[in-house]
């Protein structure tokens, strides 16, 4: 993999991580509102 592609993959992995945790935080709010 070339350097640019590698950096892009890192960005993807970090974005996926932050998104998952953000969704989990929202999920708790949603559950609480039931």
């Amino acid at each position: 993999m070339k350097g640019g592609a590698k950096a892009l993959t890192d960005v993807w992995m970090i974005l996926i991580t932050i998104t998952v945790f953000a969704v989990l935080d929202l999920a708790a709010s949603w559950f609480g509102s039931w």
Partner: protein, 560 residues
């Protein structure tokens, strides 16, 4: 160690559970002060954030942000590992982790899973030490969420404690001192603990051999105590430097099991109802002991095909370390999956089908004591579902410890319960039909199916033990199992925290003639069957196509 050894272990385990349960209660409620200076020093660094009482929502936000931070820092450490100091020695090993693998490893250690798609030997000592820090933090994180749920169940309150203060207390009073004592014991039993790098030895035949070493004793202590299971070496607890003899083997089993068992009794102290704890611990212990018996008998009986072919009557020995013995292996296999540790002292892929299927069942149930906090939350989730089901059956009001179980609670319990089978069965089904999944299955037939479902079950249950026989260091498995670990740990916890918020706001209703007693043995029976029917039957088709089919074929005299 034989059957007698197993019985002695069980006696010691339950003898320790009650006093340790009281100790955890005292530690988390701020009643212990013997390490006050250390606790105070850390709390001063955190500042005013550690002093405010938090609602369940504020507690959850602090928790989830802290976990996110842990995962991002771990990811960075793993990606930058080649630039870090403290290389393990002469440099033949160091292999940088790519983005997918680093994502998997970071998710794995943050979620207390410790699934490893890499060999410990490929990291620097610094990265290994960093992962060891997570081995302390991740079980403490699970523990504090269970404590919040206990608090919500036993009183009417708006706030449920402070996340930072709870985390510091769990670390300072429980994990640090016990792990330190265990590390000293392990040192005495022969585990190395050094930064000196590998030993270079000349064999009798004249070859030069590199024997990897490291700070293993410290790593091993918290690996077992925190139900982590991530090995310092690739061979995990089958490696002679991680688990050199039968004494270290039984110590490892005791370390991985006693805190989670004690936590059931901690719940009893919170609820001021020791009988409730005894009932829940009793039924869970029965499941645990039945599992140990099945694994032990499967190992003793061995493979009848080998008996017929060679005319020998022998135990199953493939993939096992002789020094651990049959009972020591059976107990380790059962404990590491019941308590969701994930350390292995035998090659689970090589076990007879039932001995390999039982760990799978334990991880699917995820209520046989389980990991720190997470297991206890699952026990309470099933207890609440049992209260509801039993209440419907006999026309009693669904109440648990005086708190009414209403539509919101049962909906959230159902969500928490359904997350587990969905995140196991859906990705397994995909992996079994798509080339990205099937291309790295090393065995065909029933055994190959078991290999895939074991991987996702281990991730979902935050166990981390590998059945092996499946090449999981691929982008597909790294990312999918990584996501399964994250959702498996946090989504059901989110539902349970929302339930804690709802329960905490309710007043306690005095028991009446219409109340179903939950601290009775008749409740224990219903709880057992609800757990088995809901927990196990969900997975029965998968089990039938995997280990059960393999067992029947073997008993029928066929190879596959």
């Amino acid at each position: 160690m034989g059957v007698l050894g197993i019985l002695i272990y069980l006696v010691v385990l339950f003898a320790l559970a009650v006093p340790m349960g009281r100790y955890i209660y005292n530690a988390l409620e701020g009643r212990l002060h013997w390490l006050g200076p250390l606790e105070g020093w850390i709390l001063r660094i955190i500042g005013p954030a550690a002093k405010r009482e938090q609602t369940w929502r504020q507690y959850w936000r602090s928790f989830i942000l802290f976990n996110l931070l842990c995962m991002l820092i771990t990811y960075a450490v793993l990606r930058l590992d080649t630039y870090l100091p403290l290389s393990q020695g002469v440099g033949l090993h160091l292999v940088p982790q790519g983005p997918h693998l680093a994502f998997n490893t970071a998710a794995s250690f943050t979620t207390n899973t410790n699934w490893q798609n890499y060999s410990g030997e490929t990291l620097t000592y610094l990265a290994q030490e960093f992962l060891m820090v997570l081995q302390f933090v991740s079980p403490a994180l699970g523990l504090v969420i269970a404590i919040v749920f206990f608090r919500a169940l036993v009183g009417r309150r708006d706030t449920l404690g402070n996340f930072y203060a709870d985390l510091v207390r769990a670390l300072v009073y429980i994990f640090l001192p016990v792990a330190a004592a265990a590390a000293v014991l392990l040192l005495a039993l022969g585990l190395p603990d050094t930064f000196a790098g590998p030993a270079i030895v000349h064999t009798l035949q004249g070859a030069v051999q590199q024997i990897d070493r490291g700070p293993v004793a410290a790593f091993e202590a918290i690996k077992q105590l925190g139900t982590n299971g991530g090995g310092f070496f690739n061979a995990n607890s089958a490696h002679p430097f991680e688990n050199p003899n039968p004494v270290s083997n039984i110590l490892a089993i005791l370390l991985m099991s006693f805190l989670s068992t004690a936590l059931v009794f901690t719940f009893g102290f919170y609820a001021k109802n020791r009988r409730q704890a005894v009932v829940l611990a009793g039924v869970t212990a029965a499941l645990y002991m039945a599992g140990i018996a099945i694994v032990y008998l499967a190992l003793v009986n061995g493979n009848p095909l080998i008996h017929q072919a060679l005319g020998l009557s022998a135990k199953s020995m493939e993939g096992r370390e002789v020094r651990n013995g049959t009972a020591g292996t059976a107990l380790f296999v059962s404990a590491t999956t019941a308590y969701t540790t994930g350390a292995v002292n035998a090659w689970h892929d090589s076990l007879p089908p039932l001995a390999g299927g039982l760990p799978l069942l334990f991880m699917m149930l995820n209520t046989v004591f389980g990991g720190k906090g997470a297991g206890m939350l699952n026990i309470l989730m099933f207890a609440i579902i049992t209260v509801f089901v039993a209440g419907l059956m006999v026309g009693r009001t669904p109440e648990f410890l005086g708190k009414k179980i209403e539509r919101k609670e049962i909906t959230l319990a159902t969500v928490a319960m359904l997350v587990h089978p969905i995140i196991i069965l859906a990705p397994t089904a995909f992996a079994l039909v798509h080339r990205v999944g099937t291309s790295s299955i090393l065995n065909s037939g029933f055994h190959g199916l078991t290999e895939v479902i074991y991987a996702f079950t281990s991730g979902a249950a935050n166990n981390g033990s590998a059945f092996a026989g499946l090449g999981t260091n691929t982008p597909f498995y790294n990312v999918s199992i990584g996501l399964v670990m994250l959702v498996g740990r946090y989504l059901s916890m989110a539902a349970m925290m929302a339930m804690a918020g709802s329960l905490a706001a309710k007043r306690i209703v005095p028991a009446s003639a219409g109340t179903l007693a939950t601290d009775s043995w008749s409740f224990a029976w219903v709880y057992l069957f609800v757990t088995l029917i809901v927990g196990a039957l969900t997975f029965f088709p998968a089990l039938a196509l995997g280990p059960i089919a393999e067992h029947l074929v073997m008993m029928g005299g066929a190879v596959k």
